[in-house]
């Protein structure tokens, strides 16, 4: 309990409680939908960060894992009646396996090979999804996309009329992922990854099996991306290969993570939160002039990158330290 008295502990707890309490104040389904999407992007950027940030291996094809998860759970549900609650794990495992298969031959190589392999693999996967209309008797829709059967309110199949359950679902997923990342960051694996990212030769010399460590990171990252894909599928209920497996998805994830602060635990999530909100707000507010919202969005991003090249996380760190110091000082006074 004594630890809870320190702002370093009670502040995050307060923040989490606030996130959980949000649906009590925000009743509009639209705002809840946007918040769910914001958390989705924060989640995706955090998942990418495991391989892209911690391990420092630029993956430009996470869309493929998102799609793998989304398609796996949706097909299993539509044709075998397996609830997406289970499909979520199966989808994650399929995506993880894909991450492993892409990483296995390429993560042994240095330099741009892994990045190239991920681009090539994701593009290939997108083309396969686009041109495959059937798997056996299962219709996948090809380029026309796949629609998840609308059931109305069916909690056992992860479909809800209200937006509140979606919000809580992605919030819980997000928090779990952040905790895992925190754990990785402080674990042996985290130190291996840091060593590898900073200087691969030195890490090798220290006896770290860098190829294996990279592979673990890539597989974990793909697994969580796949789980996120299942959430996307259930929220939007329509899978279009170009939108979900294409460069738009892959690049967006990388972009959010880098602007937010690659390699830190909370940076990518912050990027996802801030940039998605800004994108949404500018689109709604400045929709009178065509394309203006993208211009403003781009301008803000340029400013962020120029002034905070290490990521938006710098803002947060400064703010955080200030707040903690302030609170600690106040408490100190009280004690005196």
């Amino acid at each position: 309990m004594a630890r809870l008295a320190s702002p370093r502990y009670y502040l995050p707890v307060l923040l989490i409680l606030l996130l959980f309490a949000l649906p009590l104040f925000v009743k509009s389904p639209y705002y809840l939908h946007i918040m769910a999407m914001v958390l989705f992007w924060a989640y995706m950027a955090t998942a990418w960060n495991i391989v892209g940030g911690f391990a420092g291996q630029l993956s430009l094809g996470h869309g493929a894992y998102v799609a793998a998860g989304a398609y796996t759970s949706s097909l299993l549900f539509a044709y075998l009646g397996i609830s997406p609650w289970f499909g979520m794990f199966i989808g994650g495992l399929v995506a993880g396996l894909m991450g492993f298969l892409v990483g296995y031959p390429t993560l042994r190589l240095r330099g741009a090979y892994y990045a190239l392999a991920t681009v090539g693999f994701a593009e290939g996967f997108r083309v396969i999804l686009t041109n495959t209309t059937h798997i056996g008797k299962w219709k996948t829709g090809g380029a026309e996309g796949f629609m998840i059967p609308l059931l109305g309110n069916a909690p056992q199949h992860m479909q809800f009329i209200s937006k509140v359950p979606y919000y809580y679902l992605i919030l819980v997923l997000f928090l779990i992922l952040v905790l895992i990342c925190r754990w990785i960051d402080g674990s042996k694996l985290g130190y291996y990854l840091t060593a590898l990212r900073e200087d691969e030769d030195a890490a090798l010399a220290l006896g770290i099996n860098t190829a294996r460590v990279k592979l673990v990171a890539a597989t974990l990252s793909a697994f969580f991306a796949g789980v996120g894909g299942v959430f996307y599928a259930q929220l939007i209920r329509y899978l279009e290969p170009n939108a979900i497996a294409g460069p738009i998805m892959s690049n967006q994830i990388v972009f959010l993570a880098i602007v937010g602060g690659r390699g830190t635990v909370l940076g990518p999530a912050l990027g996802g939160l801030v940039l998605t909100l800004i994108g949404e707000i500018t689109r709604v507010v400045f929709n009178q002039i065509m394309g203006l919202h993208l211009f403003l969005y781009g301008l803000l991003v340029v400013l962020f990158v120029i002034f905070k090249p290490r990521g938006l996380i710098e803002f947060l760190e400064v703010l955080w330290n200030r707040l903690v110091n302030l609170l600690e000082r106040r408490e100190g006074k009280h004690a005196a």
């Binding site: 686009t130 026309e144 329509y238 279009e240």
Partner: protein
């Protein structure tokens, strides 16, 4: 450092608060008592690669609404004016869904229309169905949109497969009229939702007509070289070549066919790239005598067509296209339904839309009768075939089929006369 951390944070916070405030002001509640305006939500691709197409759809709608409001608005609602609320889908399904949620729950629109892309219309229709808000679809043509038993979806456009049905009908009609037997067909299409849908339709209707498909060739959109495709076609010598392409591939295919002097009985496009003005610029004389299918042409022989297009051209500087006509006509169909509904109750509007039977007025420029079947699908969506012909030295789309819609005095040139006779 002129950009200190503190100013940075303040700047961020202020930016957020301001935008949130402005955003918050946008969401007004439904007006009680007397109806002053009818809010209609429009989801269009206003940025991204389809932005030019979203723009022309927006312009056509704005022109129609100006006219409707100037003529006294919705009379059964005490002259209420139509207020258009535009939302940008970026052509992305997820963004379309978010915008549909916003338009319904924040803006409280009476009806949603638009989306241009079928891929956005499909998920948006799930949102509107859930909230029981009518969704009027003027352009997206993927068959399945009106084939899921939804009650709140109404589509003015034809189904994709209807185009393929008419194309097949057209070649059979030409074959018998000109005494040129048609046996074999090659299908060349982009590997997108649109192209795959067309291929499915062609296979179905060609099969029913007993024609043989000798080549099915999907290619990736925006290819840099399509010579291998063209050489395959040349070797197989099909009687007819069906094409489904966006503009850059349409032009590339046309020019490569010219280079290799491929000579079937006819080249037949499926709108899209072939209907883009850029196509004429990049192909020059090569596209002469090609056919294309659409629902409307500037020269089509229908009432109000010329007048409305003339007005549009004066206002915006270019001709309407089939999609703009559908968007324009859609607003009049919606106006008619609102007039008969006499209320903003979504159920009343839905019922009025379902009972639509428009046989007079400017909607004639699109079809003589506008009515929807039980699935919400427009029953007699009109389709015409045009041929690219030189009129006074300038390439034009000349409507040639069916005869009643044809440009007076023009008949199709069949078979394709060859590349040397141009």
């Amino acid at each position: 450092m002129f950009f200190k951390a503190r100013t940075g944070i303040v700047f961020l916070l202020v930016a957020f608060l301001v935008t949130l405030l402005v955003a918050g002001c946008g969401g007004g509640g439904a007006s009680k008592g007397e109806v002053k305006e009818v809010k209609i939500g429009n989801i269009l691709p206003l940025s991204g690669s389809a932005a030019p197409l979203g723009k022309i759809g927006k312009e056509a709608r704005e022109m129609a609404v100006e006219e409707i409001n100037a003529a006294g608005g919705i009379k059964s609602l005490g002259g209420a004016k139509i207020k258009m609320i535009f939302a940008d889908s970026k052509g992305d399904p997820a963004t379309g869904v978010a915008e549909a949620e916003r338009l319904i729950t924040q803006e409280r629109v009476a009806l949603i229309t638009g989306t241009y892309q079928s891929g956005v219309a499909l998920p948006v229709s799930e949102v509107t169905e859930r909230y029981k808000v009518p969704f009027f679809v003027p352009v997206p043509s993927e068959d399945v949109i009106t084939e899921r038993g939804f009650k709140y979806v109404f589509r003015l456009a034809e189904k994709t497969s209807w185009r393929n049905r008419e194309q097949v009908k057209f070649i059979q009609d030409m074959a018998s009229k000109f005494g040129t037997p048609v046996k074999t067909v090659a299908l060349i299409y982009e590997d997108t939702a649109w192209g795959q849908g067309a291929a499915k339709g062609w296979e179905k209707y060609l099969g029913e007509a007993g024609l043989q498909i000798v080549l099915k060739e999907p290619y990736p959109r925006n290819s840099s070289d399509l010579t291998p495709v063209v050489l395959k076609v040349k070797q197989l010598k099909p009687d007819i070549i069906f094409l489904c392409s966006y503009v850059s591939d349409a032009a590339l295919l046309t020019n490569t066919f010219a280079e290799h002097k491929v000579k079937p009985l006819a080249f037949i496009g499926t709108s899209g790239g072939f209907a883009d003005p850029v196509y004429f610029k990049t192909t020059g004389d090569n596209c002469e005598y090609f056919f294309d299918i659409s629902t409307w042409e500037p020269d089509v022989n229908r009432p109000f067509s010329k007048e409305v297009n003339e007005k549009f051209k004066q206002k915006y500087g270019y001709d309407m296209n089939a999609e703009a006509v559908k968007a324009y006509v859609a607003m009049y169909v919606i106006k008619d339904a609102l007039e008969r509904a006499g209320s903003l109750d979504p159920e009343a509007i839905r019922k009025a839309l379902a009972e639509t039977k428009l046989t007079s007025g400017v909607t004639q420029m699109y079809a003589p009768e506008i009515a929807f079947d039980e699935s919400g699908q427009m029953i007699h969506a009109p389709l015409v075939i045009c041929q690219f012909r030189k009129v006074d030295g300038k390439m034009e789309r000349v409507t040639v089929w069916p005869e009643k819609d044809a440009r007076p005095g023009w008949k199709p040139v069949w078979p394709f006369p060859g590349w040397d006779k141009k």
